[in-house]
């Protein structure tokens, strides 16, 4: 059922996520091939975000959050006993639904934040990396002449691209996007979607979205979650045109969710 025509970058094996004794996501096995965009769709509360947060070990920071099963990044279990969760989060970047620029930092310092936390870098290297990240996030042209002003001065869409630049600056291998356009207007949404196409040349992207059209537009593979379970996964074009399961078709045609 899982796509297997490109080398896997990230994979889950029977991943179950819990809050104390409540199961939020049940036994999900998925492959995320390198240099692809995988969309996770499903109605609210189906466990999409929780699943995403398991991939970079953010779920365990939620109150009562724990998992069973495995998450493999280049065949190494990120939940292995010797793995430092902080190191995992540096390799797997994440962007949230609402823009979260650090309000005390300038635009430049926001992008540099993830670099600096990785250790001391010479100033010139930071400058280069900040410009590269801002260019990748398609924000450089708009902010290059005011890198030292507050990140809060940017519009919502710009703030979200700033957060993407901030996630890209430390050069992660995987990018997790948790409804990245959920609080943006159509123009901002379009910019982010275009970005997904450009970024998959360098990164493996997993995007959670409420917006079916968005999933259809940006992703190579789509996984449909329902009630904490993986119902179906496949090439996006196929899943949208010929869903194998009845629940998928019902959801896609707007009969629930």
């Amino acid at each position: 059922m899982a796509p297997a025509d490109a080398p896997a970058r990230l994979a889950t094996q029977r991943l179950t996520a819990l809050f104390d004794r409540t199961v939020a996501v049940r036994e999900i096995s998925l492959l995320f091939p390198a240099n692809t965009v995988t969309a996770i769709i499903g109605p609210s509360g189906c466990g999409k975000s929780t699943f995403l947060r398991c991939l970079n070990r953010m779920h365990e920071l939620s109150e009562g959050g724990w998992i069973t099963g495995r998450v493999l990044l280049d065949d190494v279990d990120v939940y292995g006993g010797t793995v430092d969760p902080v190191a995992v989060r540096r390799r797997i970047g994440m962007v949230f639904q609402r823009p979260t620029p650090f309000p005390t930092m300038s635009i430049h310092d926001n992008v540099a934040a993830g670099l600096r936390v990785n250790g001391r870098l010479p100033g010139a290297a930071v400058t280069t990396a900040v410009e590269r990240a801002l260019r990748q996030a398609a924000l450089w042209d708009e902010v290059h002449d005011r890198l030292n002003s507050s990140a809060l001065a940017l519009s919502g869409g710009q703030q979200q691209r700033l957060c993407i630049a901030r996630a890209l600056a430390p050069q992660p291998e995987v990018l997790l996007l948790d409804e990245p356009t959920g609080s943006l207007d159509p123009a901002g949404t379009q910019r982010i979607e275009e970005l997904c196409h450009d970024l998959k040349r360098r990164y493996t992207i997993v995007i959670v979205t409420h917006n079916l059209q968005q999933a259809a537009r940006v992703s190579d593979y789509t996984a449909f979650f329902y009630l904490g379970k993986l119902v179906e996964v496949g090439r996006t074009a196929e899943l949208f045109t010929r869903p194998a399961r009845e629940e998928t078709e019902a959801y896609l045609t707007g009969r629930f969710g």
Binding site: R90, M94, F96
Partner: protein
């Protein structure tokens, strides 16, 4: 205009007027106090008032330099002791204080917040004055620090809690270790609020009199020694206002004006500290 629209307008005007009056009533005491202090104290303030110590009754040209310096030393030392403990406790409570220990610390801080300052003064006397055998400025600083800690801890906690959870998550997702997330993102975002809380606490304790009666005691002479009795502005006001001499009453008014002005300056500093760092929004 319909009757309903007219009724709305009248009601709106009446309510606006009412809140205006209430607002004035809230501000009035401060204005009255300041006006009265200016009226009765300003004329006694001259250069000598700030640079000289008291002169014998009957002579003129005495000042309260020893009390101003004394207040600065006592309050400054209290800050050195109280602020690190208070701010540290506040950060702990906000970031890690979910368990039983956090609950206990919070409860103790609230009780301590409600403890009359004279009780703290007596406590400081029992611990730091009686065993040593004489009054001291340090004992006063400790008493004031004990008053500061719960205030500062609770305001710091509230300010740190105000930082959105999403900001913390963003830092953690970026590979910040927990402690760096706390200090470099969460506390840094809350720092303006923490500074305000600290300055408000300083302003509060600067005017405390009761704890000083049992600890610093007061001193007619200039003293810089933490180990000995020291004069402070509130003590100076207390002594002079309750004394029998007209000259003393004048100086009491003037001292009260200076103390009030210092507190006002601190409040303004607090405002200045909380202004937006970047001129946006």
């Amino acid at each position: 205009m319909s009757a309903r629209a007219i009724r709305r307008r009248i009601l709106s005007a009446a309510m606006t007027g009412l809140v205006g009056v209430l607002c004035a009533a809230a501000v009035l005491p401060l204005v009255l106090i300041f006006a009265d202090l200016l009226h009765k104290g300003a004329t006694s303030i001259d250069w000598n008032f700030f640079v000289r110590t008291p002169v014998p009754i009957g002579q003129s040209g005495g000042g309260v330099a020893h009390a101003i310096v004394g207040s600065a030393i006592i309050v400054g030392t209290a800050c050195l002791i109280g602020l690190p403990i208070g701010i540290g406790a506040g950060i702990y409570l906000a970031e890690y204080g979910t368990g039983r220990l956090g609950w206990t610390v919070r409860f103790v801080a609230d009780v301590l917040n409600g403890t009359p300052s004279i009780v703290i003064g007596i406590l400081a006397w029992t611990w730091f004055v009686r065993p040593v055998g004489h009054f001291s400025a340090l004992a006063a600083s400790v008493a004031l620090a004990m008053l500061m800690v719960p205030m500062v801890a609770r305001t710091t906690e509230e300010m740190v809690r105000l930082v959105p959870h999403s900001l913390r998550e963003a830092a953690l997702a970026l590979g910040y270790p927990r402690w760096r997330t706390s200090l470099q993102v969460v506390v840094r975002t809350a720092v303006a609020g923490i500074v305000t809380g600290a300055l408000v606490a300083v302003a509060r304790i600067a005017g405390e009199t009761a704890p000083l009666l049992f600890t610093a005691l007061g001193n007619l002479n200039f003293s810089l020694s933490l180990g000995h009795p020291m004069q402070a502005l509130p003590l100076q006001i207390f002594t002079y206002a309750t004394g029998p001499f007209e000259e003393w009453h004048r100086l009491a008014w003037a001292s009260a004006l200076v103390l009030m002005a210092l507190v006002l300056l601190l409040a303004m500093a607090a405002r200045w500290a909380t202004r937006q760092r970047y001129g946006t929004r």
